[in-house]
Symmetry: C2
Subunit: 429 residues, 2 copies
Amino acid sequence: MVPHLITALTGPINELEQRILDSMPAIERWFRLEWMEHQPPFYTSVDIRNAGFKLAPVDSNLFPGGWNNLTTEMLPLAVQAAMAAIEKICPEARNLLIIPENHQRNTFYLANVVQLQRIFNMAGLNVRVGSISPEIKKPTLIKLPNGDSVTLEPVVRTKRRLGLKDFDPCTILLNNDLLAGPPGILEEIHEQYLLPPLHAGRSVRRLSTHFKNYEEVAKRLGKMLGIDPWLINPMYSQCAAVDGTGGKGLGQLQTTVDALLAKVRRKYKEYGINEKPFVTVKADNGRPDMGIMTVRETKDLDALQRKVRHMMVFGKDGQPASALIVQEGVLTRERVNDAIAEPVVYMMDRYVVGGFYRIHAERGDDESPPDAGFVPLAFEHSTPSPQSGVRPGVSGPNRFYMYGVVARLAMLAASYELEATNPDAEVYD
Amino acid sequence: MVPHLITALTGPINELEQRILDSMPAIERWFRLEWMEHQPPFYTSVDIRNAGFKLAPVDSNLFPGGWNNLTTEMLPLAVQAAMAAIEKICPEARNLLIIPENHQRNTFYLANVVQLQRIFNMAGLNVRVGSISPEIKKPTLIKLPNGDSVTLEPVVRTKRRLGLKDFDPCTILLNNDLLAGPPGILEEIHEQYLLPPLHAGRSVRRLSTHFKNYEEVAKRLGKMLGIDPWLINPMYSQCAAVDGTGGKGLGQLQTTVDALLAKVRRKYKEYGINEKPFVTVKADNGRPDMGIMTVRETKDLDALQRKVRHMMVFGKDGQPASALIVQEGVLTRERVNDAIAEPVVYMMDRYVVGGFYRIHAERGDDESPPDAGFVPLAFEHSTPSPQSGVRPGVSGPNRFYMYGVVARLAMLAASYELEATNPDAEVYD
């Protein structure tokens, strides 16, 4: 089930969307059966691009921030889903410790932490916020512009457990994507639930692994729906790292880009799509600080050569990207007040609990320019359909539904991915 | 977790409500652990009375109607809870058959059936409505005043399964309280999930069993909260049936009423409550058609003697009440536009998903006069509290919360009750 949110989609429903809407009971059942076999990530946000003729996820965040961008009406859904998640993982839970990102003075981010604290508090847990930043040496109250406040407390690590002074949590919720790798203070914790697990961290995950799994589940769902999986799946290729010092490997990148652009062109031709294809080049480790390049023609790569090198050499910590991923670009057709509006879907456990649009005036080379604004998606409040004889459903189709499907498909791919990368997995030979 | 609904409560929060609000995480954890051991009824509505100094459930309906009285905003919560319920009981479910009450021309009731159909459809099931009324001989489309419509189809019973023509459900949802006992057509169904089970029917349940279980769980919750359980528990006594023909047994009823009124008087004195106590007399089998009498003094019983006899002798099917239950009356202090407003709380699986007020201008002798109106409870939409330093939570306390606690306590009692009356229960000696 996906809440009925008002999207910016006002045009007619095309064939793809209609197929997804018509298949709702079958899709829901398919997900239900998948979640019997696979554990959903604890919480997930998925960025989606909708070109009209196709839609696709571009990023699946397993440590989602931005919970404060959801409307208050979505809070009960998030709380109910949080209850379900807690009941399943650790029903006896009493105390929950949230570990936020270390850049603790960003009040937008901290409003998100407050919202998470609120959600899990309403789900029946005592919730406190423990910082692993070395700058937090004593409980620090930070007031936010919206009137909320949050107290960051220094974590206390014992041999076997992590907590705060006078606060021993049974569950630790990471809202820190561990970009620089899991810090020692979070390792060797076996007595407490650490959610999501350390191998969900940004330093471990690979976009190529995620999209390989996504491709697999998209194929299976596409088969069930009787559609070409390409309509919900962005094609991609992996590519070795470009040597930052001398452009070594740039040739291979050019070849990869060329080949993928040709594949997209063929698909566009097959569907009679009159658009100029483009691909994006990203670091396979998905580090957002390494940037994302948009390439429409191979010769763009020459102009971007310096950026490619930069991307290869400099992460914030100087760690090079191990490899590159070249991915089919998917346009965004939705607009809010003439600005480009990219849907972001929020999930808690297996449930879609809300979403918002990331808004920016003009598409640049980046998928998520830093000056983006946020427009929460409101609930559809209209009363049931006045037409007689229609099948049950609130008035008008739920145009947020297809986003909820693609987002959960990406979440399912993340679940497969985490299973495959779990270092503690039992292997049956 | 209980959604933050706007109640009619505007006065200051008294000690009892404050204690319940302060204990929220502990209460939620307590319920979470209870639901590990006990299966919640599939869906439940609970009528509550709030006298201010105490509050109590008066009826727990395991085949709740009135889903159409909830606001559309509550629909996503109900759908999410329905998904959780289905996943737990029969995750492979594809088709769901709803069996409604037989009085199929009541459009208010049918609007409820449409809403249930909508909820389970959005949860990912194909849902159809199968009538067990002998009047439904072919698919019958009924249009409702609100523009909705519903098709009632005659059920088809084979030796082992129940379904419709061309529709084989794996799950059958009863929205028919089986007042006259389970009809043969619903018996001996072992291959399909029949929810709730037949022994949840009105002809099997006894109020005395329900309130005995309620007393038990109220005592345990009261102990945890450090409160006198009487503050959430209505006292009651059982009493043998009065012989309808000659008033035999009326003496025993008088004695029982007297004793309970005295107990209530003592409690009122202990708490300095300046109200006139009253009790209600109901048929122990809880048949609403037998009426409910309010008794303030023993001599009222003489005036009510004819009604008592009537109650004993005539159910709609002439079946006499097996026994009586005399229960402490709990006043309703809430008013909406000067009318008495009695909260009703709706739950799906273990989750509180909404509620409304049953409204009537003046309290009569009945707990639910037939001319009652309904006022849905709206969601609290305000943004998070602007005061700094407050603990997480939406602005202002959730005054619906205590209703959600008492309602779930009554649901838990119903769960114990169903376990104890389950004819298929495995007994370990």
